[in-house]
């Protein structure tokens, strides 16, 4: 009985230490309350490059700063990208030549130079604790 309890406690401890972390993204300079913020979380570069998000979050837009939180994450490397879906169509609007016309951004406040940001600039590592990162919306 005692052994069983010990194993259960150990498992619980293990579970909480591996899966209980959160990644918080503080999104700054949202320009209006219109529409929503759609954010995707990627675990590792290959998932980002193959457009395979691990989780997605939807938050009502709020002028100024808002926070998006992804919870229950294990240790590892993550990246977040998001956009301000002002017209509520669930798509990042672009002009005719593909330049975004709605606000967008990346974890680690990564910015692209004549194109999207690089994964290496947006990646965030979780190692045994919660992590907070921020991003200013690019309109």
């Amino acid at each position: 009985m005692k052994i069983k309890l010990t194993i259960a406690t150990a498992l619980l401890t293990l579970t909480s230490s591996v899966f209980s972390h959160s990644l918080q993204l503080e999104i700054r300079e949202v320009k209006s309350n219109q529409g929503k913020i759609l954010a995707q979380l990627f675990n590792g570069e290959s998932n980002y490059q193959t457009n395979n998000p691990m989780m997605a979050q939807q938050t009502m837009a709020k002028e100024g700063t808002l926070i998006v939180t992804f919870s229950n994450l294990e240790n590892g490397e993550y990246a977040i990208r998001y956009f301000h879906d002002e017209n509520n169509d669930n798509q990042l609007a672009t002009n005719l030549i593909g330049i975004p016309t709605e606000g967008y951004g990346y974890s680690n406040n990564a910015k692209g130079n004549f194109g999207p940001a690089k994964y290496q600039d947006m990646k965030v590592s979780i190692v045994d604790s919660d992590v907070t990162t921020h991003s200013t919306v690019i309109y």
Partner: protein, 508 residues
């Protein structure tokens, strides 16, 4: 709507491959010497020995309303404002840009009022200008100038300098730069209003937001505004706006053009002419303008587009060549199309403007020749040179897309650094009228102002910088008697930076 979706799907994703990869550039630049600081040292040294360079020094200062000193008589029937635009701010801190096209735009307004002429000049307050003004230094790399640890450029709009041309639209002015949106300006006080979303008030909405809109739109006599924008893929967006600046029609023409830069185009009463010069951007060379090369094996190509549908109708191959500017195109009843070009046999002139920014004299300068082309319905092409050394071609506004008989240009006679001569080519009879300002002047674009709205009547007006006295003057010629010199010369008590293009807006 279907068409716009189709267009969008054609190019969506293109943003992911925009312009050069710069991932390793930041690390590289950390070790690089500050080329912009070196440029300033070179220019300042050269300026001590070459007073002509004051035209290219630039300014930080705006110009409040100042009355000009008049020589001669101001024609009473000129009523309105002559607006000009040009790159004017080239230096911040101890740094100087490397290419003449990189400076922040400044609007000059020569206003005719109660028998006097007044000048004022203000910078276009683009986001870039405001950010850099606040920081007191350059924050963004330009097309050729690399700012060490410069801020990333999310879209071309971030570095829009609105520095090339200015046109009247619906009671406002639009300051134009060829790689981004127009920036609207108040006619009243030259204050900057907003970045124009070309899809506003139309079904196009945000699909045109931030799109390239060239600095050489063609405004037809009915007020319609035609223009194009070159995308980084080489595809060309065509626009038809009504006189109120509302977009009526848009199309994307797919091309394999790899020249990187396309400055001007033409219209006839039926067609749009996209003229693709013999340029290729060498992606192994640094810089944007710096990487543009002339390929003497590559024909110039004319794409003839139907104005009614914005669809490509025909292509013509021309001998290899390059032009920044074209004056006009028109079409005969048999379908023959005529147009003129200020034609170069190389792209040295583009790189000359890099040399100028260092204060160095070019070793050899290629000049443009006024060339008349005819595109025949059977696909053949004819061309004739009618004038040596001519640039900044302009015509009477009423003749845009229609047969013009006169073509106004500037060129150089006594100096090589810049222009010192204004010319009127009578295309129909081959006669040329010229006025040589002479080597003491740096002469800018001259435009036709016709109070009667008739070609060959009225005035030719333009600015020139008098180097010995360091003053800029506005010159008014009787268009019929250009060779007699200006009927009126109005002097500023100071000089202003040399600019690019402008237009006269009559007071109604």
């Amino acid at each position: 709507m279907e068409r716009r979706q189709a267009l969008k799907s054609l190019v969506v994703g293109a943003a992911t491959t925009m312009l050069p990869a710069t991932e390793s550039l930041a690390a590289f630049l950390q070790q690089e010497t500050d080329s912009l600081a070196e440029n300033k040292v070179l220019f300042d040294k050269a300026l001590l020995n070459n007073p002509n360079l004051i035209g290219f020094q630039g300014t930080h200062q705006e110009f409040s309303k100042t009355r000009l000193t008049i020589e001669g008589t101001i024609p009473k029937n000129i009523k309105g404002s002559f607006y000009r635009n040009g790159a004017a701010l080239f230096e911040r801190g101890q740094q100087r840009y490397q290419h003449l096209f990189e400076g922040d735009g400044m609007i000059q307004d020569f206003h005719f009022e109660n028998g006097e002429i007044y000048h004022q000049g203000k910078f276009v307050k683009t986001r870039k200008y405001q950010q850099e003004q606040q920081a007191g230094k350059f924050l963004y790399s330009g097309p050729d100038s690399k700012v060490i640890n410069g801020l990333p450029v999310s879209t071309p709009e971030a570095i829009n300098t609105a520095n090339t041309n200015i046109i009247p639209v619906n009671g406002e002015l639009w300051a134009l730069w060829e790689a981004g949106s127009p920036v609207s300006i108040s006619k009243k006080d030259l204050s900057t209003l907003e970045y124009v979303n070309l899809g506003r008030n139309s079904d196009y909405g945000n699909t045109l937001k931030g799109m390239a809109f060239s600095a050489h739109p063609k405004i037809e006599a009915n007020g319609d505004i035609w223009n194009f924008g070159l995308s980084h893929t080489g595809h060309i967006v065509l626009y038809q706006l009504n006189a109120n600046g509302v977009t009526r029609n848009v199309n994307l023409i797919k091309t394999s053009y790899r020249g990187g830069m396309l400055h001007d185009f033409l219209i006839t009463h039926k067609h749009i002419l996209l003229i693709l010069p013999s340029l290729e951007k060498n992606n192994t060379t640094s810089g944007f303008f710096n990487a543009i090369e002339f390929n003497d094996q590559l024909p110039m190509q004319v794409l003839v587009v139907d104005k009614a549908t914005l669809a490509l109708k025909k292509r013509f191959d021309l001998p290899p060549g390059f032009a920044f500017h074209y004056g006009n195109a028109w079409e005969e009843s048999d379908g023959s199309i005529h147009f003129d070009a200020s034609l170069y046999s190389s792209v040295d002139v583009l790189h000359h403007m890099n040399t100028l920014m260092k204060g160095l004299n070019p070793t050899s300068l290629s000049t443009a020749k006024t060339t008349l082309f005819t595109l025949k319905p059977n696909g053949t092409v004819q061309h004739d040179y009618i004038g040596e050394n001519s640039e900044f071609p302009r015509i009477n506004n009423e003749k845009v897309g229609l047969r013009n008989h006169e073509l106004y240009t500037i060129g150089s006679t006594e100096t090589m650094l810049w222009n010192d001569t204004v010319s009127n080519y009578h295309i129909s009879n081959g006669k040329i009228q010229q006025y040589v300002y002479g080597k003491d002047f740096l002469v800018e674009e001259h435009i036709a102002v016709s109070p009667t709205n008739k070609e060959g009547e009225g005035y030719l007006i333009g600015t020139a910088l008098h180097v010995p006295s360091k003053r800029t003057c506005l010159n008014i010629f009787d268009v019929k008697a250009l060779s007699n010199g200006p009927v009126c010369r109005a002097w500023l008590p100071y000089h202003i930076p040399l600019g690019f293009h402008g237009n006269f807006v009559a007071t109604t």
